[in-house]
Symmetry: C2
Subunit: 421 residues, 2 copies
């Protein structure tokens, strides 16, 4: 078989699905309002998707669409050639400009397709200094995003480097085509009525969060091979999932795809042990078979079959990096899980399985959390950290109970699936 | 012959010249100082040149290199699909960000490769509204550039659309290769010691401006077929050419290539008639065989063999658009002129021949003009306008005299060449 060959029919199908993904991004992801400006960030390889999104955004009445392209090769050239004393710099002027755009009403669309190991071989000190400078400079703009002041979304594009990491055994062209097909399927862009399918999917996720919010469990209890973990939930925690209304009044789906319902654990009330069920791809390192033990919310023991040193470095980031900021439930029958792929990208992998996240909690997962101070949030049990790293703990062998304040256990998931539909 | 075929040797040569052009852009164009941030703007097709420039900038000690890529196809999608009431918008937040970068010490590198007729078929009202909004939003950043507060440069890259416009008779691949070769030659990137060649070239241009400044002519007198034009020069005019020192102290070459020495005419002292010697490419229209008559600095009659309507619309922009803002001398033996190509791009075409520009004057072409108010500059004779459009009036058939304050004519150019070397 000739790897380079794609039939005209395959090209037509790809173009149609790319256009559908663009429509999903604009209508479902952003929920774009007429007259709204759009700021897109994208890897340069995502140009064809950027153009489809640009057209759909203008058709939906966008006042102006601007794309800020990034080039990973240029990023790499920095680490290879810049002088050692320059790595504490970041483009504050650009991030400030983006924050100004959001404040004046712009929506935010991120296209991701990162090479999972771009900086794996670069000097870790330079990388962490550059990351820190970037995080600091980006903070004012990022606060408007994670605080949901504006409608935003993240979608993905199959770039050659990412595709080769997911499908190392085939040619680049085949890998890219396979990854696109996986993205289209996970994002429901392979369906004839993707907008209708997303409406149904959002309704299902909303029904699930409504049920869980009505229960208001004190604790989730995970049991499976290597796992017996009690995750206490924050006081006044709220479950979220699917579309949500930003503070600017626009209903958006922040992640395309999304399969999870999630909430905030109590930072001091996590106990027991847990084993990861899928590898975690973190900045070029694959961390496999994580096993940790929690006491009073804090990780007191940790090991991993591969990447243990990186894991332990992550845990030392700050006080909050040893505690949980998120717990999420995803059935094992989710389309992403069923694909059997490890995407090496959180946007996909966290939607393949129930998961927990080390680090920062989401204020919107606390009732009225959006208007609370950091102290008020902490008093409810919400964790604070510079990191937020999701890792997978669900599988077809894992059961989950919801435990009421009275200590009564109710079955939520059995063998990885919801007990009630 | 197979158009698509390029030999490995041709590829190697192209890569070497691209790298040399990048080195010229960084070392000659920007004169980059260690620790300086660099802001690049580039068409997305210029990615290979952007990467070479990025590497050279980091090697020269740049603190951070950021490229803002533009995509002409996305621009076109705006004019095709955006609602009619949106064309007065511009990305003020991005231009303000760029201005902030320049104010904090960044250098500015523009890569141009525009499709000369990208918007030729679009609604002229939408185009002019978008241009006006963009000009207004860009003004604060542009002022720092044209006022030479910072070091900056413009270089070019052969994009497919531009290449096909210059070489319509060959395939796209051949056209791009031919245009690259022309760019390399005009930019001296085809030489073994391009930096040395640029040093010599700058020294020659400086010697020429020194001579002309010492003469301080009252008037330039152009004579040739269809031309008998007296261009009075502004009081305290200064000739410029080649590299110059920006207000931040850095010596840069603002245009790569550059062959001209130029100064400011007196806006009220231009008389006679003049015929263009090369076509003018203006926003997708080719304006050929322009013939205009000046009285007291003002164009009182105008016609053109093609594009006359566009020319007359340009002349109606504002009061200053009928008067001159620049006069420049370029010998007919300049490498760009000798290539015999019409580049459909001012960066090249204005360096092929002596030229005049309708519209805005450069304050740096008036002695101490950088610190003068607009009124002070106008009192010296410097013109003001929203436009600055260069068009070619030199050729091997045109003679130029310098006329002293006492009315004595001295031969400057004969048959298009300098009389003194
Ligand atoms: Zn999650
Ligand atoms: Zn998460
Ligand atoms: Zn000029
Ligand atoms: Zn000019």
């Amino acid at each position: 078989m000739n790897d380079q060959f794609r039939s005209p029919a395959a090209d037509t199908l790809h173009a149609a699905r790319l256009d559908r993904l663009a429509e999903i991004a604009v209508r479902v992801g952003l929920g774009l309002k007429a007259g709204q400006e759009v700021v897109i960030t994208a890897p340069i390889e995502a140009l064809p998707l950027v153009r489809r999104i640009t057209e759909h955004a203008y058709k939906a009445g966008s006042s102006l669409v601007t794309t800020l392209f990034s080039d990973e090769e240029s990023t790499l050239l920095r680490f290879q050639h810049a002088k050692d004393d320059t790595f504490d710099n970041a483009t504050g002027w650009l991030y400030d400009g983006m924050a100004a755009a959001y404040k004046s009403g712009a929506a935010r669309l991120a296209i991701v397709g990162d090479d999972p190991s771009l900086l794996a071989k670069q000097d870790t000190d330079k990388v962490s200094r550059a990351n820190r400078a970037r995080s600091k400079a980006y903070r004012p703009a990022l606060d408007l995003i994670v605080g949901f002041d504006i409608n935003w979304t993240i979608v993905s594009a199959a770039t050659p480097a990412w595709a080769k990491a997911v499908f190392p055994e085939v040619s680049e062209a085949v890998a890219v085509a396979k990854l696109w097909d996986a993205i289209f399927a996970a994002s429901r862009a392979d369906l004839d009525d993707p907008i209708g399918a997303w409406n149904t999917h959002n309704a299902n996720l909303h029904a699930r969060t409504k049920l869980l919010n009505a229960k208001s469990y004190a604790t989730l209890h995970f049991r499976g091979p290597g796992t017996d973990l009690r995750v206490g939930l924050a006081d006044d925690h709220e479950w979220n999932g699917g579309s949500s209304r930003a503070k600017n009044g626009v209903v958006c789906n922040a992640n395309i795809p999304t399969e999870e319902v999630f909430t905030t654990p109590h930072k001091d009330r996590v106990d027991g042990f847990v084993r990861s069920t899928k590898p975690l791809s973190y900045q070029g390192t694959l961390i496999q078979d994580i096993e940790v033990k929690f006491e009073n919310g804090r990780i007191v023991e940790s090991r991993a079959r591969t990447g243990e040193a990186v894991l332990n470095k992550v845990l030392e980031t700050d006080e909050g990096s040893r505690r949980l900021g998120e717990v999420a439930l995803v059935p094992n029958s989710s389309p992403i899980s069923q694909s059997g792929l490890l995407f090496l990208n959180t946007l996909f992998d966290e939607n393949a399985s129930s998961h927990i996240a080390l680090g920062q909690a989401y204020s919107k997962c606390i009732r009225n959390g959006g208007s609370m101070s950091e102290q008020e949030l902490a008093a409810k049990g919400a964790n604070t950290s510079l990191i937020h790293i999701d890792w997978m703990i669900g599988s077809s062998e894992v059961d989950v109970d919801g435990v009421t304040a009275e200590g009564e256990a109710e079955p939520l998931m059995r063998r990885g699936e919801w007990v009630t539909q």
